[in-house]
Amino acid sequence: MIRIQTEDFEIGRETDALADDGQSGAIATFTGLVRASGDRQDVRALFLEHYPGMTESVIEDLIAQASERWSINAVRVIHRVGELALGERIVFVGVTSAHRGDAFAACEFLMDALKTSAPFWKKEITADGTSHWVEQKDSDRRKADDWQAG
């Protein structure tokens, strides 16, 4: 299940929606938040843009890759777009599995891959009213590459 939306989401509700009929012994979730220091200090908001259509198909492909590598049952990915204030939730990834190892690994893989493969772009809006596109981080690139290597 993939949703790209401007609206907020509730972690509890999304986690409950992942629970199933007893096949899963584990739910691993990750939630990303807007923080005050990124490429710039004094960030007061983020603006997120995406490529409608391609975004969904890239995430579907990442979920298919995760399903081949790990024994997982259900996946939910929610990514918000538009302007988001400090502390707001940006992204949610939730994975269920019979065992926690697969759930943790698939959740981390999906988040790392999403940051370098899914066509989203973040712009930081700072306290002085200026805005700057966030540059892709080598550290994010390396994390995604490590999954390919390992």
Binding site: Y51, M54, K115, P119, F120, W121, V134, E135, Q136
Partner: protein, 85 residues
């Protein structure tokens, strides 16, 4: 049927070029690199596209290389490295 491809621009590229989408004619054998050269020949700010190795390419919403041929009706997207999540 039209003999054009639609080129979409996102994020920093969309702002630099002040354009989110345009159509360009293509002939048999036209590649994405050819399209970028055609755009760059328009002068500033389009010339920033030429030689910018950070520009990512998608053809029909799948990641592609500059050498990829395009056909009439294709959707080509040019954008900076992604930074979501």
């Amino acid at each position: 049927m039209s003999n054009t491809v639609t080129i979409k621009f996102f994020a920093r590229l969309r702002e630099t070029l002040d354009t989110d989408s345009l159509d360009l004619p293509v002939e048999s054998g036209t590649t994405v690199a050819d399209l970028i050269r055609t755009l760059a020949s328009r002068g500033s700010p389009w010339d920033t596209l030429d030689g910018d190795r950070s520009v990512m390419i998608a053809v029909n919403q799948t990641m592609a290389r500059p050498s990829q041929p395009v056909s009439a009706g294709d959707e080509v997207a040019l954008f900076p490295p992604v930074t979501g999540g």
